[in-house]
Structures are given as structure tokens and as C-alpha cells.
């Protein structure tokens, strides 16, 4: 079976500090995969490597068998890996619908050159209209349609999270990376988010890789997980097996006194 994302001995060091080492992960298409670990375990660093923010020191990663190591951020995004950020990064001074439309910019079906836009060719109007319709469609899935003309910075926290996911999905990715999507949410919002993520998986038929600290959230959502500790893989596999692993319990809770 072909994996959507596979990393081979992926690692990075910052001046001698090995933030990640020998990470091997294989994510199936249409799977929700969790990445957990204590603070400073290198989870976000791994995300940054996979999205091209950092170049890995060792190893490679492949999307559908295609080697993506060394590509720039925007290239990797266009190949089909979209992400959200731990601290929300929206285009704050733009309206909600425009945030999503930015995600549609680089898609081939909305191609329109600078020149065509500057001198208002017919293609410009056609493309703009289609983009607006598509953006509305995506916003509707997330229930953000009534808010479409508000500025992104005026939305409440939960909606901002959703908007960030909507924007990432607008780039029509094959794999979606969510960096602590439930951080700072209340239980109600978290429950809503679980539903949203399940909905995304069904509707868009994509693989999802997510980071979170909340074990309940992860175990309720993910099919398989990887546990990182000090940059190294501690355990990997089905959720229940991993969470009962002795090493994992030790890393999270501590050792039982003899």
C-alpha cells in the first residue's frame, strides 16, 4: 500500500543540538495520524521540516513517493502539503472570505496572469467569480459563511482556528498538518473541532497529521500515533497499544516508584 507521507530517517540539528533524529513515519491516505510528546520533543520542528521551513540535516521525506526534501515552502504547499500554525497566523487585515481566496491563488484552474488582472481581461472576472464561489463553498462547510465579510482579526478564537484550517484546505492539499488545533479551546470548542476534523477527513478524503498534548483528544480522533521524546521516536502504532506502552507512560507521567 502506498503511503501518502513517509519520512526516512528524518533529522535536524541546530549547531549540535539534535532537535529531531531518525524519525520514520508512514501515513496512509485518508488517515488521521497523531504526533504527541512532551514539550520540546521536536514535534513542531518536524512540522517545519515537512513544510520546508527548515531543511533537514539528515534523511528525506516523500509525498506519494515523490521526494520533496529541499524544496521551498511554497513549492511544497503546491505539491499538496498544507498546514496551520500553533499560534494562529491569519491575514488579520483581510476579510474572512479573502483569507480563503488567498489559499486558492495558486491553483491551476484559477490561472490569471498579472497582465490580465491589471488590464481587466475577461478571464479576470471569470476567475474572480469562480474563486468567490469556491471560497463560499469551503466557508459553508465550516459554518463561517455568515462571517465572511468580517475582518479575520475580529473573529472569536475558535472561529479563527477554523478559518485557518479552511484556508489550508483551500489549497486542496493531499495531506493536512494541524499544529495543536485544540490549544486554548474550551471543552465545547474542542468537541466541535473533533467533529470538524472528522468531517474534513470524510469530505476532502485527505490524510491528516496532527500535533496535540491532550491525550483524550488524540485518542478519540487518531487512528495511529507516534510519540516523540527528545527528538526521537519513543513508540509508534495503534493508539491503544502506544498509550499502554511503558516508556510512553514514563515520559508523560513518570516512573512508578519501586
Amino acid at each position: 500500500m502506498e503511503y501518502i507521507l513517509s519520512t526516512k530517517n528524518l533529522g535536524i540539528s541546530f549547531g549540535g543540538l539534535k532537535a529531531c533524529e531518525n524519525v520514520n513515519m508512514d501515513i496512509l491516505p485518508n488517515e488521521i495520524y497523531g504526533l504527541i510528546g512532551p514539550n520540546g520533543a521536536g514535534k513542531t520542528t518536524l512540522f517545519n521540516i515537512i513544510t520546508g521551513v527548515y531543511q533537514p540535516t539528515w534523511g528525506d521525506f516523500y509525498l506519494n513517493g515523490e521526494r520533496l526534501t529541499g524544496l521551498k515552502q511554497e513549492k511544497i504547499c503546491n505539491k499538496g502539503i498544507a498546514r496551520t500554525f500553533q499560534n494562529i497566523r491569519l491575514f488579520n487585515n483581510m476579510t474572512v472570505i479573502r483569507n480563503v481566496m488567498v489559499g486558492l491563488t495558486n491553483k491551476s484552474e484559477y490561472k490569471c496572469t498579472f497582465f490580465e488582472s491589471m488590464f481587466r481581461f475577461r478571464r479576470h472576472f471569470k476567475v474572480e467569480k469562480e474563486m468567490r464561489e469556491k471560497a463560499k463553498e469551503i466557508l459553508d462547510i465550516f459554518g463561517l459563511l455568515p462571517e465572511r465579510n468580517n475582518l479575520a482579526c475580529n473573529l472569536p478564537y475558535g472561529m479563527q482556528r477554523k478559518l485557518e484550517i479552511a484556508r489550508a484546505l483551500a489549497t486542496s492539499p493531499k495531506l493536512l498538518l494541524l499544529d495543536e488545533p485544540a490549544a486554548g479551546m474550551n471543552p465545547n470548542e474542542t468537541m466541535e473541532l473533533v467533529e470538524t476534523i472528522k468531517l474534513i477527513k470524510e469530505k476532502f478524503n485527505i490524510g491528516i497529521l496532527l500535533i496535540d498534548h491532550d491525550l483524550k483528544f488524540v485518542s478519540g480522533l487518531c487512528d495511529r500515533i507516534t510519540v516523540l521524546n527528545f527528538g526521537q521516536v519513543l513508540a509508534q502504532g495503534k493508539v491503544q497499544d502506544v498509550l499502554n506502552n511503558k516508556d510512553v507512560i514514563e515520559a508523560y507521567i513518570g516512573r512508578e516508584s519501586d
Binding site: 500554525f85 491575514f91 481566496m101 484559477y110 488582472s117
Partner: protein
Amino acid sequence: MKTPKKIKWKHFINYIVIGVFTLIFSLLSVTNSLDLLQKFLLEKIAISILLSVSLGLVVGFLGELSLGHAGFMCIGAYLGGKAASILEPILGSTLLTLTISLVIGGVSALISGLIIGLPALRLKGDYLAIVTLAFGEIVKTLFLNSSEDSFGGPTGINTPRFDNKYLFIVGFVLVLFMLFVIQNLIRSKHGRAITAIRDSEIAARATGINVVKYKLLVFALSAFFAGIAGVLYSYSNYTVQCTKFDYNYSIEILVMVVLGGMGNINGSIISALLITFLQVELASILTGNLAVLQNILYALVLILIVIYNNAPSLKGFRDKYNFKNLIKRLRKQKFDPSKEIDDEAKWDRVPTKIEMNEVLSLDIKVEESTLKPDKGDK
């Protein structure tokens, strides 16, 4: 469900205003009712608008600070002016020469914008400002040290004349053209990408936007219009001397952009108009010994405008007497509380939200009634 498409007048108002403005003054000019100074002032205004709106594209929409705008203008002025003085005897027609030299000046500035932009736009913030500042000075020094028969060295070059009855009309037609190009670009998917880069470059990259490509495009486009303004300047002044295009001139253009409001094209136009008007009028009124007062008054006016716009203690005054309220009052004479819509979607109208401006103004007064015990307690 489809609603009939409304024409957004807001999008066209500046074309209309500038078009009418140009038409009125061209009629006055054709009937010989404008004197030399007024025509000169109009030319200057057109040049300032070209410069401020094009710099506003980089500073306001892309969010990068460029201090070398006068450098691009200098390249346009020299190359366009030189091309004009060579082409004039060959072509014979003044309008054709002007058109060709405008294209030459603009394109040469555009190419230099691309050349300086390729390495410089990898830098961020202050570093880019320093590089562009250095670029402006380099260009100036290059032309200063050019040989006598190429670009005239310190004496500069002379450019052929264009009937000053019509030169400002050409200037305003160029302003309209620039507005057409820049506003169309901003109101397209490319414009959205540019503003996205301004808001969050990291997120823009992660959304698949080619940041380098867009930055280069904006930089080159802005340089192109600066070059065109330079050619216009060379025609308006008859001579081009590189001492004009120094650091101060770049800052002056930046002042117009900042004063008009970042990312506000109409604001840039208005502030360019006002500042140029102020400068030219001050220069013509205060002559001789009083000339020292020019810069002092100019600075004073700028300081007053900045204070008026930002002082927290004037906030009440500003809210009461601003442009929006003026239009509202003209439209509707009386305030009707029953017509006030209670819009729940407006987040900034939640009454509990603390007004940040009031907190920052540091003049929070504790009401005296809260300090005294209530009368009923006694």
C-alpha cells in the same frame, strides 16, 4: 437568489474626481487663463501623485520600507531626458518624443528595480530600507561623476521642451493610467496575495504564495512609475541635476505616503496634492530673506497634521468633525434613534470592551461621585 450587480462607486470615485479636475484645468489652460506658476504647480502635483502612489504600493500594500524611490526617479529622469534630447531632432514631433522617452525612462527604472530587488528583497524590514537607501545614493553619485558628454556630471543634462500648456495634462493622464493599473492589480487575486504577504509572510508562504515573485513584481512596478515621474520631472524642469534626487527627496515621498495613510491610495493622492501645493506656494510667497521660513513652516504644518491625527486628547474632536460624519450630516439632517440598527455582528460595538485609545491616553479621570460616599448612606 441573485441580486442585481451594483456598480461600486467607491471604486471609481478617484478616476472621476481626477478626470474632472484635469478637464477643468485643461480647459483653463487651453483658454490661456493659467499663469506659468500655476501650470508648474500642476505639473509638480502630477509628479508627486505618481511618486507617492507608486511608493505607497511598496510601503502600504507590500509592507516593505523602501527609501530609494528618488533613485528610481533619478534613473528615469536621466535616461528619459537623455533619450528625449537625442530623439527630438530625429523624430521632430514633441509628443512622440515625450511618449518614447516616458517608455524608456519607465522601463529603465523597472529594470533597475528588478536588478536591485533580486538581492535586496531577500532582506527584511530595516535591512531592506538600508539597501534601498544606499541604492539611491549610489545612483546619485554615479550620475554626478558621469562624463561631460554622457550625462553632464554635476551640471546635469538639458531636456527638450514640451509646450507647458499641455504638459500637466500628460501628467494627469499618466496619473489616471497608473491608478488604473495599480488599483486593478490590488483588486485582483494578485493584490490579495500582496496584502497577504504584508499581513503574515510566513502564513503566505505556507499558503503557497511565491513571495519573491510578488515582491519583485511590486518593486518593479513601483520603480516603473517612479521612472515615468522622473521623465516628467525632466520635462517640467528643462534640466536634470542629480543633487535633487537625494535622501531627503525619498523621505519627502515617504512622508506623503505615511500622511495619506498606509495602504490608502486616495489618501496618498490627497496628501501628495496638499504637500506639493504647500511647498510650491511657500516657495513662491517667501522669497529673499524670508526663504528660511519655508522649511520651518513646512515642518510645522507636518507636525500639526501628525498631532491632529494621533493625539488621544483630540479623539473626541476627530470623531465629531470628520469626513464621514460630514457626509452623514449632509445626507441626513436629524439623528433618528429608531433608525439606528443594533447589529450583533459588530464585534467592536460590544459595550464592555475597553477602548484601547482611552487607556493609552493616560488621562483617565476617576469620577468624583465614586470617591464620595452616597448620600443615601448617611
